[in-house]
Structure formats: structure tokens, C-alpha cells
């Protein structure tokens, strides 16, 4: 049988090798190293603080926060979950994972919300961003582990960078969506009273989009947690490492303990951020309505003049 490769073979692997090894790494390694700096700072600060707080104090504190944001049930669950984690001997690992995840989510927020806002403001930017986000969400995370190691080395911070890439899309998408779904006549009213674009964003669009943005934050957080084991492959510590080493040594006990730790942490953080989203914006478009509009054929756009009289 004839096949196209009889006539032409494309050495894609060589090209990529060349691009990354011979061009990107030698030319930009210092730049990439510099990018690690802010992440390192945030991580170290957070890690220092979390490890300095005594376990009991932290548990009580987090339970109180959970109580305020998500109610009594979640608070009680938080109390027991953290106590359990301590009892199975994974407290330090959990704190490491927590500081890693919070750092990643912090950077996702700092990067993602402005990008989401920009995408909502400009159709062209949205069109350009969409395929990038699609790629970020479909590429298996193993694929970019190698270039990340080459550019950033191994360790905690490269792990966080991989996590950021993986967890970034939802917060961008949902910020964009939330702002676009703000009722057009409200934006128009703000403009009619002389608001600048920034004032409209700050006074009307962002507050009304907040519930959707929080849903994005929640998803980003969950994705970040799901990366902790993979990040352990390139040298990140914490619960991910516990699972990973358990896996390597066929130590079912350890792997299970680490896994349970991750799950408990995930449930606590999920409920708390969900509670936050519900509470903060009782009066905005419901998430259900927002998600429904995703699938409706007629795109809801802001800024348009309403046509019906």
C-alpha cells in the first residue's frame, strides 16, 4: 500500500526539539527564570504563614470562615476533615499542597480576571483568545511538563506554573461570560448617566458578574487541586508527592492516605468558594441562567440597544 509518508515525511519532533532546545531555552531561559520570582515570593510567604500557624488554631479559624461563608454543616465538616488529616499524619503535606494550590489560584485570578474583562470588552480579543483556551483545556498536561522542566527546572514553582496553565481557562471564560451577560439596558443606563467604561465596569458590570466569576474561581480551584499529583512528577511536594511515591513503591496505604487528604481538602475548598459565590451576589443573574444562555442559540450580548419597544 502506498501512504503519504512514502513521499514526504515531516520531522515534527525534530522541529519542536530544535525550537525548544536550541532556540527557546538558550535565548529565553533567563526571562523564564525571572518569571518565577513573583511566584516564589507568594509561595514562600504563604508557606511560611501556613506552617507557622499551629494546627489547632488553623483548623478552628478555617472552620469559622466556613461557617460564615457556607453555613454550619460545612463548618463542622471542615473541623472533622482537618482533624482527620492531622490524625493520619499528613498535616505538613496538606499545608504545602494548600499553599501551592492557593498560590496557583491567586495567579490564575490575577491573570484570568483582567483577561476575561478584556475578552468581554472586545469581540476581536475574545475570538483570538478562544482557540488558545480551547487548546489549554484539551492538551493533556503531561505534554507541557517537559518544556516546563526545560525552561523552569524542577521543583515547587515549576509545578505551580504547570498548575496555572492547567487551571486558568475557567476563570477567564466565566469572567468573560458573566460580564457579557449583564443586562444590556443596565450598561446603557450607566453610560447614559455619564459613566466612563471603567466606571461602568466597576460599578455595574463586575458586581453583577461576580456570581459567575466566583463560579469560575471555584472551577479553577478544583482544577488546580486535580493537578497536585501531576505537579509532583516535576518535583512539587505535598500530598501529591505522598500519592506519587506511594504509587512508585506500590505502597497502597500511603497513596490512599494522600488521596483522601486531597479529596477532603477539595471538598472543603469547593464548599467554601461555592458558599462565597452564593452569598456575595444574591441579586445577580443566577448561575443556572448564565449557563443556560451558553447553550441558547441567540448569543446574549451587552452594549446592544434593546430593540423591543
Amino acid at each position: 500500500m502506498v501512504s503519504p509518508s512514502d513521499f514526504l515525511t515531516i520531522p515534527l519532533d525534530d522541529w519542536v526539539n530544535f525550537f525548544v532546545k536550541d532556540w527557546l531555552v538558550p535565548n529565553f531561559r533567563p526571562a523564564f527564570r525571572a518569571m518565577q520570582w513573583p511566584i516564589t515570593q507568594v509561595l514562600n510567604t504563604l508557606d511560611g504563614v501556613l506552617n507557622a500557624i499551629p494546627m489547632v488554631l488553623f483548623t478552628v479559624g478555617l472552620s469559622l470562615i466556613a461557617w460564615r461563608t457556607a453555613g454550619r454543616g460545612v463548618a463542622i465538616f471542615t473541623l472533622f476533615a482537618l482533624a482527620f488529616i492531622d490524625m493520619i499524619g499528613l498535616w505538613p503535606e496538606t499545608m504545602t499542597t494548600l499553599s501551592m494550590v492557593v498560590t496557583a489560584v491567586f495567579f490564575c485570578t490575577v491573570i484570568g480576571i483582567p483577561l476575561g474583562i478584556a475578552a468581554a470588552a472586545s469581540d476581536r480579543f475574545q475570538a483570538a483568545l478562544r482557540p488558545v483556551l480551547d487548546i489549554m483545556q484539551t492538551i493533556p498536561s503531561f505534554v507541557y511538563l517537559v518544556p516546563i522542566v526545560m525552561l523552569f527546572g524542577v521543583g515547587m514553582v515549576p509545578g505551580i506554573i504547570a498548575t496555572i496553565i492547567f487551571a486558568l481557562p475557567p476563570i477567564i471564560r466565566l469572567t468573560n461570560l458573566g460580564i457579557r451577560n449583564v443586562r444590556g439596558d443596565l450598561v446603557e443606563a450607566a453610560t447614559a448617566f455619564g459613566a466612563t467604561a471603567w466606571q461602568t465596569l466597576w460599578e455595574v458590570q463586575f458586581p453583577l458578574a461576580l456570581r459567575t466569576v466566583m463560579a469560575g474561581l471555584n472551577q479553577t480551584l478544583m482544577l488546580a487541586l486535580s493537578m497536585v499529583v501531576i505537579a509532583a512528577l516535576i518535583g512539587a511536594g505535598g500530598l501529591g508527592l505522598t500519592v506519587y511515591t506511594g504509587l512508585g513503591r506500590l505502597d497502597v496505604g500511603n497513596a490512599t492516605a494522600g488521596g483522601i487528604g486531597i479529596v477532603l481538602l477539595a471538598i472543603v475548598l469547593d464548599r467554601m468558594t461555592q458558599g462565597l459565590g452564593e452569598k456575595r451576589s444574591v441579586r445577580t443573574v443566577s448561575l443556572a441562567a448564565t449557563l443556560k444562555s451558553l447553550f441558547s442559540p441567540r448569543a446574549v450580548s451587552s452594549g446592544q440597544t434593546e430593540r423591543a419597544s
Partner: protein, 395 residues
Amino acid sequence: MPVKVSVKNIFKIFGMEPHRGLELLKNGRSKEDIFEETGQTVGVEDASFDVEEGQIFVVMGLSGSGKSTLVRMINGLIEPSAGQIIIDGDDVASCSPARLRDIRRNKVSMVFQHFALFPHKTVAENVAFGLKIKGMPAEERRRRAMEALAQVGLESRADSYPDELSGGMQQRVGLARGLAAEPEILLMDEPFSALDPLIRRDMQEELLELQRTLKKTIIFITHDLNEALILGNQIAIMRNGRFVQTGTAEEIVANPANDYVAAFTQDIDRSRVFTADSVAGPADAVQLSTDTAKNAIERMEAAGSDAIYVLDGERIAGAVTYRDLTALMRDNGGALASALITDFPSARRSTPLFELYSLAQSGLPIAVTNRKGRLDGVIAPQAVFAKLAGEAAAA
């Protein structure tokens, strides 16, 4: 009255490259043609009008006739494709964004059909929105917002959220928000259309009441001719992006420019459009001191009426009827005073016809009085009913 807003030959064509559509339109092509050829929609075509200070200018038209587009060009929410909109010497259509913002903050504010209240802000915060945008300090803002809320009778709801209020209350908040910055011009795009008929009535009364003291220049959009006639000092009827007739309520009802307008005026409530002025005759009267019953009877016979007013100097003393006077003549042929009816109906020139119904039922002619209470005209009771009935026949 000085002209406050002057709109000159304004066009709006929706779509890319509006000048192409404009060109075709000026060459006399129809809107359908233009849509077929270029995909552009003609929103407003060559509208011109002046609004005098302190007047309510109403634009009335069916859905899709271009009313919202027109009113949004006045505060620059929609940029006109051609034409000028002059507000106090500034051309809104061509001024800088900063100037436009300044106009929106200080001079022109807007009330919306679906209220457009911010759901995450309290009533007071909503009302203070324009002031916050201008950078007014919080305390002063609150004070001004409370004043504006007092004007619409909603101070007690200042700290509620909009979704806790009824539709009518929400639109009062919308109105207060429009008034808070003390603009000179108020744009109202079908502000009462989303309300129940009864509440709509109240709101119309309330707007007129407010307008008596505030004397804003108001451009009011509606699809309801009755509303237009009740509120408007001047009314423009809009169809397919064009003005088909502009005039006062009476002018439009009395002389519809074409069949389209006539079709609307057919089912309107004429008793609210026409005033006593439209049926008042001359101030025919006799003098109490100098005229006798005989003179009065002669005057009534000449005028074909069966009652006449009697003046005492300039003051209205009362009215006398033909029947009473002839009886008086038979008995002793004496002075008017003994037949004088002092409990006579009276109205002002601006009184709407519907208020004359009950007055006309007394059978006496209605005295039209001026501001000082002097006789200014007389309305024969039949004339009131004839006006209302006659128009139906005319239409």
C-alpha cells in the same frame, strides 16, 4: 420660550458603511430596497424638531418606528449617521467623548422603559448613581438622593432593593434617579409602558404634577396616543423612521395629516384632548344694573340660547334662564335680580372636556372664567356633547 433642544435633519442607518445607505435614501430609494441591497436598517430618516424650554415634547409611534433610536441619539448613546442635535449650543452628534460625558452627567438624564435599576444597589444608591459617577462625596450624594426620592414619595424605601418594590415604585425610583442630578433635560423612553393601566394613569398625573414645579424640558416617548395627548405640549407622530405630523394635541386630533394619523385619533379619548377652549363661545352677558328682563329675553332670542349670564360691573352675578324671565315678565315685568341663579357652573379655558360633563348636566351654560374670575366666554351645554359626538361622525 427659548429652544432647548434642536434636532436638525437627523438620520440613523444601522449597519456597516451607513453613508451608502444614506446615499440611496437621498436618491429616493425605499427602506426595503436599501435593506435588500446593503443589509442596512433605516432607523430614523430625516427627523427635525425643536423643543422649547420647559415643554414636554412627545414622540408617538408604533413599535419599530424608530422612537428609541431617536431619543438615544439625543444623549449620544447612538451616534447619528447624519444631522445635528444642538443642546445649548453643543452639537451632541459631533462633540468630544469628554464633552458628551459632561452633558450626560449634568444636563441630560434618562428614564428607561424597563426601569434599568441596578439590582445590586439599594434604592438610594440607584438614585445617587449619577452623582457618584460625577464624584460627589457620599454624604451629599445621600442627601440629594433623599431629596429626589421625596419628590416621588419614596423616602421610606431608600434602603430597599429594587426587586422589593412594585413596578410603579421602581419607575418612580427611575424617575428620581433621572431627577437627582438636576438635569435640565429629561429623556423618557416609554417610561410607563411596562406598567398596569391604572398605575400608568397615576404616573402620568404625577409627572404632570412634578412638571408644574420643575419645568424641565422633557422628551417623552410613547406608543400610546392617549398618553401622548395627555402629556404633550407638542406631539410628533412617527412612522417607519419619519415624522408624519407634529403639532399640539388638539391640532393633531382636529386635523390629522393623513389616514395613518386619523386611524390613531379615531379611538382616542377626545374628552381628555379637547379643552373648554375648543367649545367656548363669546362672553355674551347682560348688566345687572342697566339691563332689564326684557333686554335679556331679546338677547337670548337673538342668540338662540335659553340662558344668559348677568354681570355686576365686571363680576359675574349669576345667570338667568329664558323660562324664569318669561314667568317674571308675566307677573310684574321687573328687575333681573329676582330671577338670578347664583349657583352657576364655571370652568377655565384649560379644563378638559370630560370635566365639563357634569357641569353641562345642570342645563345652564358654563361660564368660562379667566384667572381673575371674570367672564371670558360661555359654553352652551349642547356644545360639549356635540364636540364629542360630532368628532366620531367626522372620523
